[in-house]
């Protein structure tokens, strides 16, 4: 069964460093998403991406965040200058069209 994959599973970085989180969505899906979940808190929407551009973004998704689909398979989230409060689980999701989104296993980002 096709699934969303994410790498790395765990990333530790120092404050101020740039990180890139990678995702491979399900191959025939058209919509791609990033969510984050701070430990013990709700899942929060960051951004959605369709047709090679951002379709929606939340207030959390400020100028330090960017997304890219550099080729036909990968979908990346870049955090330019990490802060302590960026520590969270980051989930990538994809959908063919519609609200049913399939999630990857997540990348745990720890900023020290």
């Amino acid at each position: 069964e096709p699934e969303v994959t994410q790498t790395p599973s765990h990333q530790v970085t120092q404050m101020g460093q740039e990180v890139i989180l990678r995702c491979v969505p399900i191959s025939n899906h058209l919509y791609f998403y990033w969510y984050r979940q701070i430990l013990g808190q709700k899942v929060e929407f960051l951004v959605s991406f369709y047709n090679n551009e951002i379709s929606e973004k939340s207030e959390i998704f400020d100028d330090q965040f960017s997304v890219e689909r550099p080729d036909g398979s990968n979908f990346t989230l870049k955090i330019r200058s990490t802060k302590l409060e960026d520590s969270a689980m980051y989930f990538c999701a994809s959908s063919y069209g519609g609200a049913v989104q399939y999630f990857g296993p997540g990348t745990r980002l720890t900023v020290t």
Partner: protein, 110 residues
């Protein structure tokens, strides 16, 4: 502000019991409501509901939506230890941007 509220926040029952999990919402532009199960990591999709009164069923799990009273319930009958998880409710209120509840942590004791 759009919001999704789940109750209870946690629930401990014995194997074989039936549980009902609740999700209420206040959103300006409701499109659909989704239930997910989160075990160790990624949420996995259970149900999507768009119409009131139509029950969705999968094995021992079922769910229904009430768009007049703005809530949904998720029922699990004859619970098993493998049902232990966090159950998440999310609402699509604008362009597939899901708004999430805090989840109900369900623990099934043998």
């Amino acid at each position: 502000e759009d919001k999704v509220v789940q109750s209870p926040l946690s629930l401990v029952v014995h194997e074989g019991d039936t549980v009902t999990l609740n999700c209420s919402y206040e959103v300006t532009n409701f499109r659909s409501l989704l239930w997910y199960k989160q075990e160790k990591k990624a949420p996995t999709f259970l149900f999507m509901l768009t119409s009131s009164g139509i029950e969705k069923k999968s094995g021992r799990l079922s769910s229904i939506l009430d768009k007049k009273e703005l809530f949904s319930i998720l029922n699990i009958t004859a619970t098993q230890t493998g049902d232990s998880a966090i159950y998440l409710c999310a609402v699509d209120a604008r362009n597939y941007q899901l708004i999430w509840g805090a989840g109900t942590k369900l623990i099934i004791k043998p």
